[in-house]
């Protein structure tokens, strides 16, 4: 298994160490290329955005408007707030220079002379590491004027956000970067036309930008050979939950889900040898899948860690790779409680601009609270289903969907569990009831 992002140096924030492992070689190579050649390499690599939606990065870059005399910007989305996802902060903490190198190459490719890293305000450790690395890069002539005598100038700023999930949404991020309240903008215009300060802007995830470095090093064609189909390259997966070895793993896209969960190389199996119950594969906003669906596709083939395989069959049987937040739940997990946690989060984080999300997320949380308290009815389950369907697709930004999908999937796949909460409230005061229900021994 190749590792392109978190390879050989496990934790090194020093510039010299990064350089001694071949760091900034890609930059030297890139600065000798034409910007459009770099864009073409990224297009050939098939790299898809690692921030969640999986949109092809090269194509996104090619959309950027190039009006005469108007500056352009690259913004790195380091807000990383999706519950279950913690790979960007890992990368920034252990290998800040790969992000900086990626930022310089990408900015050069896009013709941006002022770029930003927008980092979540709570991630102070990573902020200081990044800032130190940026200072070092300036001192070494890798940032600033006339980088490596190429004639290319770049200033790079790290901006600390206030710590709101919605500020990870690209247009809310731009608003926040401009010093305003982090409310998503209404599109169009898209950032590629009018982004930061109304100028053409590309917003990319940390991992996406870091991946540009190996792409330039190894060429786009070589990069595209890794992976399966349209899911090329490697992907960082944040694995958490009831597994023996939680952590951040770099996989080649295409690893079977079963292997990822059970092999010693990755998650090392379920804690205590218990049975797998469900997985949220791509961060809290993507639909949860029960064991039988997470291990096998609708056609009964082994499910792979790729955009296509995880999405196979649509939401009736599939889910999304999303940002790679892989949350494993064993048989003792209460799906209702888990969903309540997610719903509470989305309610808390809704920006409040559009009516369905502003009002609907709070309503869903309240109903789930009621069900958890043992006061729910069967009608409440149907109501929840109906509310989520009235939020999905009716909002300004995808936070509405992020709030609706988990509810839909939990009810779709685990309705009997909701009914159990409603029918036998005496059993549900705590999770012990699941041990009893499934004849399990408490550990």
């Amino acid at each position: 298994m190749r590792q392109l992002l978190i390879d050989n140096i496990t934790s090194s924030t020093s510039l010299s160490d990064y350089k001694s492992h071949g760091g900034y070689a890609a930059l030297e190579k890139a600065l000798k290329m034409k910007p459009e050649e770099i864009v073409a390499e990224v297009q050939k690599s098939g790299l898809r955005g690692r921030g969640g939606a999986g949109f092809p990065t090269g194509m996104k870059w090619s959309f950027i408007a190039k009006p005469e005399g108007v500056p352009r910007h690259l913004v790195c989305n380091a807000d990383e707030s999706e519950p279950g996802t913690f790979k960007d902060r890992y990368l920034m903490q252990h290998k800040p220079h790969i992000l900086i190198e990626g930022m310089i190459i990408s900015s050069f490719a896009l013709g941006a002379n002022l770029s930003y890293i927008y980092i979540r305000g709570e991630m102070m450790v990573q902020f200081h590491i990044l800032q130190k690395a940026i200072d070092d890069a300036y001192a070494a002539g890798l940032l600033g004027k006339n980088i490596l005598n190429s004639g290319f100038d770049l200033d790079l700023h790290v901006h600390c956000g206030g710590g709101a999930y919605i500020c990870g949404e690209e247009t809310a991020l731009i608003e926040s970067l401009e010093g305003k309240r982090g409310n998503p903008r209404i599109k169009p215009p898209f950032p590629a036309i009018a982004g930061v300060w109304g100028r053409p802007t590309v917003v990319n995830n940390v991992e996406t930008i870091a991946a540009v470095v190996p792409i330039i090093n190894m060429t786009g064609d070589e990069y595209a050979k890794i992976g399966v189909g349209k899911s090329t390259g490697t992907k960082l997966i944040s694995a958490s939950g009831h597994i023996n070895k939680p952590g951040v793993y770099e996989i080649e896209l295409g690893v079977p889900v079963e292997e990822f969960i059970y092999s010693e190389q990755y998650c090392g199996g379920i804690k205590g040898g218990r049975k797998l119950k469900a997985v949220v594969a791509g961060g809290s906003s993507v639909p949860v899948l029960p064991t039988e669906l997470i291990l096998k596709t609708a056609k009964g083939e082994p499910r792979l860690m790729t955009y296509e395989s995880l999405g196979d069959g649509g939401f009736a049987t599939g889910t999304m790779l999303g940002s790679g937040g892989f949350i494993v739940m064993d048989e003792t997990t209460s799906i209702v409680k888990n969903l309540f946690n997610f719903s509470r989060f989305y309610h808390h984080e809704s920006c409040g601009q559009c009516s369905p999300c502003r009002e609907g997320t709070g309503w869903m949380e309240k109903i789930l609270r009621k069900i958890l308290d043992g006061r729910g009815t069967i009608a409440d389950i149907d109501l929840l289903w109906d509310i989520q369907s009235k939020i999905e697709g009716k909002t300004i930004c995808p936070l509405g969907e992020a709030a609706a999908w988990p509810v839909a999937a939990a009810i779709r796949h685990f309705r009997p569990e909701f009914e159990e909460y409603v029918r036998n409230p005496q059993n549900i005061k705590d999770v012990k009831h699941y041990y009893r229900l499934n004849n399990l021994v408490e550990v």
Binding site: H347, C351, S355
Partner: protein, 336 residues
Amino acid sequence: MPRVTIDGHTIEVPNGTTILEAARMIGGEIVPPAMCYYSKLKTTGGYCRTCIVKVSKGSEKDPRPMPKPVASCRTTVMDGMEVQNITSPDLLEARAGVVEFLLLNHPLDCPICDQAGECHLQDLGYQNGKVKTRYEFDRREFDPIDIGDKIKLHMKRCIHCFRCVKLAEQLTPGRYHGMLNRGDHSEISTYIEHAVDNEFSGNMIDVCPVGALTDRTFRFKSRVWYTNPEDAHRTCTKCSGKVRLWLKGEEVLRVTARKDKYGEVIDWICNECRFDKKKTSDWVIEGPTHIDRHSVISANHYESLKSLKLDVDKQKRQLVHTKNLLGEGALNPNNE
């Protein structure tokens, strides 16, 4: 000029026209409701989602339907676009959902709300709402606050349409109010100890689609349907001076800007005209405002009766004039 078909009606519109504006050009029942869009203010719309429509054909070039309903106030038409509003049951169901969300935290206290009779949410509720609410939890509660000496804010009725925020941004210097907090905790508020008191602030009351911002010089003095609206004007150095007076007998209870049939002002007016000119003698009265028959305001609005009365008065005057001309007895049929 792109051609768009909305619920079977085709129209050619200038480039850049939104679906909502195209629908307004066609007029009638197919016009989507709008709670946050306001044609007289820039960058409004997109927030409330009441104006959503289904685009069953994207354009001539790309005939694919759009995957999700779109906000008609923010989506420009493309040549060959086909749109469904009232002809799509799914869409109407989705709109009913939006209305339900809007009403979750908006008390239906129409009998005491000052906006009753002029409330767009009330109309929307009648047209798209359900008889019973499915919401059983506590609603948001706020104490009303005075923002300045002329405007009262009743936050619990606010539907976060952002119109007042946009107005304050675009029509008045300095910004003293905006949205605080997130989600269903959001609230319109002024910066601490700031009052909204510039010359055009009163227009915020006019743009508020519900009873959240009310006129302290009028609120609860009367119900609108007990008043008679008359168009009037005066020479004003700050604004056009063209207003609507809301009269009870000879008393001017309220002054507002004039509104079009979509409830949007025709011209902004200044605070002096709105709050300080409360005598009929301050104004040149042009005549009764034409009020749509469907509006509750027309309940006590004797527009035709009034013109009849004016007519009778005119005839009477003529009679007196004729009598004066020809002498008493000239109009006596028996010539007595």
